[in-house]
Amino acid sequence: MRTVEELIELANTHLGTALAPADAAAELTELAEWDSVHLLRLIALLEQELGRPVPVDAVLQARSLRDIWAVAVGA
């Protein structure tokens, strides 16, 4: 996974969200398309996609999709 757009695509495919690349920097709490019950599933999807564990505590504290992507890929 090289870009945050790929993470957004991953979420849309598996969670049924309709997130746009422009949502990457928005606060998660501001995103109408985002529900906190999706976060735990997204962590599992990320680990499946990356083939390695992600730092769960940091992902849970991330405030935007870009933050999630950054801690997940270790950028």
Binding site: H14, D35, V37, L39, R41, A44
Partner: protein, 658 residues
């Protein structure tokens, strides 16, 4: 006949996700809700997860605007920790069964307040079912380190007592007939192995099983408390806890455990609604035995003797076990009927023989037609059928041709047949009644009765020769569960569609003026037991019939006419001035619209704007006769019954001509 290539290759089951995905993308899910069970048949774990996630945010009211008849269930979810994550899984599982949930998720970890406080949002939601999810940290959150097994034992017992009290609170504050669902708590290795002494570890293992066993013994599903056993879920390979999400998000269950929990909970909810399937239709070649009848001949098929044969034998024993609890077995096979008869007769070593099947369809027509024929012969709805076959083509034919029937995908590995068959609890029911155990024999007699009917040139002569006896009187204690079951499971002859749990039937029967009657029938083919129920009450000198239910197994023999006319006569004899009844349309009871008017009632109200109920009244002046071929005994109250017995009276309502 089995198609070996298909059977051993990848199952050709449809992949439903794209189409559900398309509906979601077009915003058409609510409008297409009735198609969802079909789309989810055969869905894998990921597809079900996706379905749950896109269905959970749907507004149930929007679905109901499109499809007002959609069965709904009000669910409250509470628990020891973060519980909202179970909602998508549960929504997806219920959607598989066509059930639309109205779900309220209560506060995280607030189950004590939710359940104990009568003014809590949980009770304001008026749930039909409350799920109190007990995660693997249950009890351990009350144990301080360092600890000894005895302290865990004390905390566990305290927890069980609290849960018992919360169950009582739920019974008192939730709507009548509501069910609280608890679950057993998986024991984690990271706790057992904090004890280094093997003796103490064994002690902990023992006391924990005791705690779970005590929880299970508290269950009384027909009285509003169910306990899901999660051990079969975890022993099938599902990990119970997610330590990282537990530590950082107070979400201790894995998604897989919640998915397994949701699957079991959905079947429990289905069972509580009385929607259990009634009949298991089985293929023969590759399903019940090894070999191909048309090629190997009746002597050549096996279910023992070889390794593979023995695996088929084990599957037959699983099927026989289901039949012993009232599941009707039928065969649907593409073969010559004579060959099937010979094969079933020639293998006494098979666990299943000809006598275990209530009916057999063996021909070369489509299996969808075969399933319809079987349902018609048994007088059940085609969607009450579970169809199991190892050939993908046949499964597709039944899926397409029998909407609503459950299809079990078997394949070329007979050792896996039992768990494939049991993967979904299609036949789950809150409690088993004596009627359930006797059902297969009764349906077999029904088939004999119909053959006799076909052989009788004149239907009236057939009825006259039945020697039909119908006994209607206040339900005995041991019959209450059966009455509840009839109200839950009967669709066609259910005047108002009102569903009652055993506890609710008990309350009705104990209320002042209650007239809760069991209808029992027998004829020369045998005793049919309790086949119907009258839920009524006397008030202000009138009889108010709240519901009338009759098993479809006995329709068409004049029992319905006898019960209604007998009821009217008994009401008049008891000095009552009128009988009131109502018909509320449901998905299956349209034919009953004219039942009351056809028996001399006049329409006095309705259709009610909410329920579309029509209300009827009979002034008890002109009464119709009880059909002459029915010997009816009908008593409204125990006093009448007692008096009749003392007077040696034979019938309360003899046939008459006025």
């Amino acid at each position: 006949m089995r198609d070996r290539d298909l059977a051993q290759g990848r199952p050709l089951d449809r992949e439903p996700a794209p189409s559900l995905r398309t509906l979601h993308a077009r915003g058409r899910l609510a409008a297409a809700y009735p198609a969802v069970p079909e789309l989810l048949a055969g869905a894998d774990a990921d597809e079900l997860d996706f379905a749950g996630r896109v269905l959970a945010p749907l507004d149930p009211e929007e679905v109901l605007r499109h499809h007002p008849d959609t069965p709904t269930v009000r669910i409250a979810v509470t628990g020891r920790a973060t519980v909202g994550d179970v909602v998508p899984a549960l929504t997806g599982q219920l959607a598989r069964h066509g059930i639309l949930p109205r779900t309220l998720v209560c506060g995280t970890g607030a189950y004590l307040g939710d359940l104990a406080d009568p003014r809590s949002p949980l009770y304001a939601h008026a749930p039909d079912v409350t799920l109190c999810v007990l995660d693997p940290l249950t009890v351990w959150d009350k144990v301080a380190a360092p600890w000894q097994p005895i302290e865990v034992s004390v905390a566990a017992e305290r927890q069980r007592k609290v849960l018992g009290e919360l169950a009582q609170a739920h019974a008192a504050h939730a709507p009548p007939g509501a069910t609280l669902v608890l679950n057993t708590v998986p024991l984690l290795r990271r706790f057992t192995h904090q004890l280094t002494s093997l003796a103490q570890r064994a002690e902990l293992g023992g006391l924990w099983r005791q705690f779970n066993a005590d929880l299970l013994y508290m269950a009384r599903p027909s009285a509003g408390l169910a306990v899901l056993d999660l051990e079969p879920v975890t022993s099938a390979g599902v990990r119970a806890d997610e330590p990282r999400l537990g530590a950082y998000a107070d979400a201790h269950c894995t998604a897989e455990l919640l998915a397994g929990y949701a699957r079991e909970a959905a079947h429990l909810i289905r069972g509580l609604r009385g929607a259990a399937k009634k009949c298991l239709v089985l293929d023969l070649d590759g399903t019940l035995w090894d070999g191909v009848l048309a090629e190997d001949g009746p002597e050549g098929v096996t279910a023992s003797g070889s390794l593979r044969g023995a695996a088929f034998g084990a599957f037959q024993r699983t099927v026989k076990q289901l039949a012993s609890q009232g599941v009707l077995l039928a065969v649907c096979s593409k073969n010559d009927p004579e060959a099937v008869t010979r094969a079933l007769a020639q293998h006494p070593e098979f666990p299943l023989g000809a006598a275990d099947f209530v009916t057999v369809v063996a021909d070369w027509g489509s299996k969808a037609e075969g399933v319809h024929t079987i349902a018609e012969r048994l007088g059940i709805a085609p969607e009450a059928v579970v169809f199991a076959d190892d050939t993908a083509f046949e499964r597709e034919s039944v899926r397409a041709g029998v909407p609503g029937a459950a299809v079990v995908p078997l394949d070329g590995e007979p050792a896996l047949h039992p768990e494939r068959l049991l993967a979904d609890g299609w036949f789950d029911t809150p409690t088993l009644t004596d009627e359930d155990r006797l059902r297969p024999a009764r349906y077999a007699r029904r088939a004999a009765r119909e053959r006799s009917e076909a052989g009788s040139s004149d239907y009236r002569a057939f009825l006259a020769g039945l020697a039909l006896r119908v006994d209607v009187s206040p339900a005995e204690d041991h019959e209450l569960a059966r009455l509840a079951q009839l109200s839950l499971r009967t669709n066609r002859f259910n005047l108002t569609g009102e569903r009652l749990s055993t506890e609710q039937v008990r309350q009705r029967a104990a209320a002042p003026g209650a007239v809760v009657l069991a209808v029992r029938a027998a004829d020369r083919f045998g005793d049919d037991g309790v086949v119907g129920a009258v839920f009524a009450r006397t008030e202000a000198g009138r009889l108010w019939v709240d519901n009338l239910v009759l098993s479809c197994r006995v329709l068409g023999r004049g029992i319905e006419e006898a019960v209604i006319n007998g009821l009217l006569r008994a009401a008049r004899s008891a000095g009552l001035t009128a009988v009131h009844a109502g018909w509320r349309p449901t998905r299956a009871n349209a034919a009953l619209r004219t039942l009351c008017p056809g028996h001399g009632f006049t329409t006095v109200g309705g259709p009610d704007p909410g329920t579309a109920e029509l209300r009827f009244r009979h002034p008890l002046r002109q009464l119709q006769p009880v059909p002459g071929h029915v010997r009816l005994e009908l008593r409204l109250t125990r006093e009448q019954e007692k008096r009749a017995r003392e007077e040696g009276e034979v019938t309360a309502c003899a046939p008459s001509k006025n």
